[in-house]
């Protein structure tokens, strides 16, 4: 078993036009920086990107957007990206806005082999659309579908050569569920160690879900809103 690849360029091999890709991260926290940069330098286009947010104008997924490599975005909030809002309002970019909790659960369900489930979020709103509606315990619910993708690209703090991953603090966010829902999951990590190093009790993502892993470099870890005590 050899899951280790050299770098992001090797990791993204096999990603082609029009594929559906899950990207981990919440804002700029826990985003797979190296892989996003590698995709932005490639000629791959027509991507259907699923991520909670769309980065900022000049960083994260915002770069793929600016280079017109994205055909469609599925996200819960795109407020930090002016170009995104512009492309959305002008109709250049197809956008599906999904409630954050529903998005997280759709991805978790997809990885867990659950094709559909019912949740109350969005009932009575434009999110309802033509979805099936059912009442449970006197409360209305919408039927939502599980999400899987061609690739899932996640970022973790620690990973081992068997693909076991440990995330750090709020940099986990969508990464854990997404790692389960890609046909191929790529993990970029801050520290890659030989298997046997990590404590099995601490693993967030068991290695079965991960097909390719590499140690990333030069993480910027940009902060969107630096708030301090003073």
């Amino acid at each position: 078993m050899n899951k280790q690849v050299k770098d992001a360029d090797e990791a993204i091999r096999g990603i082609t036009d029009n594929m559906t890709i899950l990207f981990g991260g919440f804002g700029l926290c826990g985003i797979p920086e190296n892989c996003i940069k590698a995709l932005a330098l490639s000629n791959i286009k027509g991507l259907i990107c699923i991520s909670n947010n769309a980065g900022v104008d000049d960083y994260g997924l915002g770069v793929l957007l600016a280079k017109h490599q994205m055909k469609k975005m599925m996200a819960s909030y795109v407020g930090e990206n002016k170009e995104f809002e512009r492309q959305l309002l002008s109709g250049e970019l197809e956008v599906e806005l999904i409630p954050q909790g529903t998005l997280a659960e759709r991805i978790r369900a997809g990885g867990a082999g659950i094709p559909a489930f019912f949740v109350p979020a969005g009932y009575g709103t434009e999110v309802q659309g033509t979805k099936e509606v059912r009442e449970f315990n006197g409360k209305m619910h919408l039927m939502e579908m599980g999400i899987t993708a061609d690739f899932a690209i996640v970022k973790a703090k620690y990973g081992d050569t068997r693909g076991n991953l440990i995330y750090n603090k709020t940099a986990n966010n969508f990464n854990q569920a997404m790692a389960t829902a890609g046909r191929i999951t790529i993990a970029e990590v801050e520290e890659l160690v030989p298997y046997g190093t990590l404590d099995p009790n601490q693993i967030h993502t068991p290695g079965v879900y991960v097909q390719r892993i590499f140690q990333g470099t030069n993480y910027e870890k940009r902060i969107e809103f630096r708030m301090t005590k003073s």
Binding site: L89, V119, T125, T170, N172, Q176, K229
Partner: protein
């Protein structure tokens, strides 16, 4: 005198009980954290995967891996827990959070809320708001009673795209505390120095006023 945003936050903090798990939305709701009574233990949940939000960090403590739902750097309190987004919303959807406070553009007398979209102008997305209002046990909206053009935000029916239906329990504004009942808005308290007439004039929806309406104690 109408309250300022800190006054609204201070009044909302009176709804807190010891041992409560609370989710505070972006804007005025986050200020509620500054007014948690001395000695009361309230644990703040951040929908991006933290139970136990602490104060903003010192300059040397800033950690890019530790942010709140508004993407601001924060700290984690002692006894906190980290988890992923699907677990976070399982906690919310499963009704485990005692109190949710969020802002709004409009609230209707049936408890509908519009808070995420102004068509053609503000289409940033709903984030976790729809999940929160659909599942929370106790929802308080923190808002000014009227918008900056003086138009009421407490309406018969919401005009903007909805975040949720039939879900708001209480609204706390710069003028009043208003509950949603089967019959419509019910006035519970007045801001100090604010009259019932003033509140009625600022409320487009049906406002029920029964008996003497006390002033808020802050």
């Amino acid at each position: 005198m109408a309250l300022d945003k800190h006054g609204i936050a201070r009044r909302i903090a009176k709804e807190l009980k010891d041992g409560f798990y609370v989710n505070l939305g972006i804007g005025i709701p986050t200020l509620v954290a500054n007014y948690i009574p001395e000695g009361m233990e309230v644990i703040l949940q951040s929908e991006n995967g933290l139970l136990g939000i602490g104060p903003f960090p010192g300059i040397d403590e800033v950690d890019p891996d530790l942010i709140n739902a508004g993407k601001q750097t924060i700290t984690a309190m002692q006894g906190s827990a980290f988890f992923d987004s699907s677990a976070s919303f399982a906690m919310i959807r499963g009704g485990h959070i005692d109190l949710t406070v969020l802002g709004a553009f409009e609230v209707s007398e049936k408890g509908d809320i519009s808070s995420w979209k102004i068509p053609g102008k503000l289409v940033k997305g709903m984030g976790g708001a729809m999940d929160l209002v659909a599942s929370a046990k106790n929802i308080i909206v923190a808002t000014t009673h009227t918008d900056k053009d003086g138009k009421s935000k407490l309406l018969k029916q919401c005009t903007l795209p909805l975040t949720g239906v039939n879900c708001v329990n209480r609204i706390i504004t710069d003028l009043a505390v208003v509950d949603i009942t089967e019959k419509g808005f019910k006035l519970i308290e007045r801001a100090p120095g604010v009259s019932v007439e003033e509140i009625r004039a600022a409320t487009e929806g049906q406002l029920i006023v029964e008996g003497e309406i006390p002033e808020m104690t802050l």
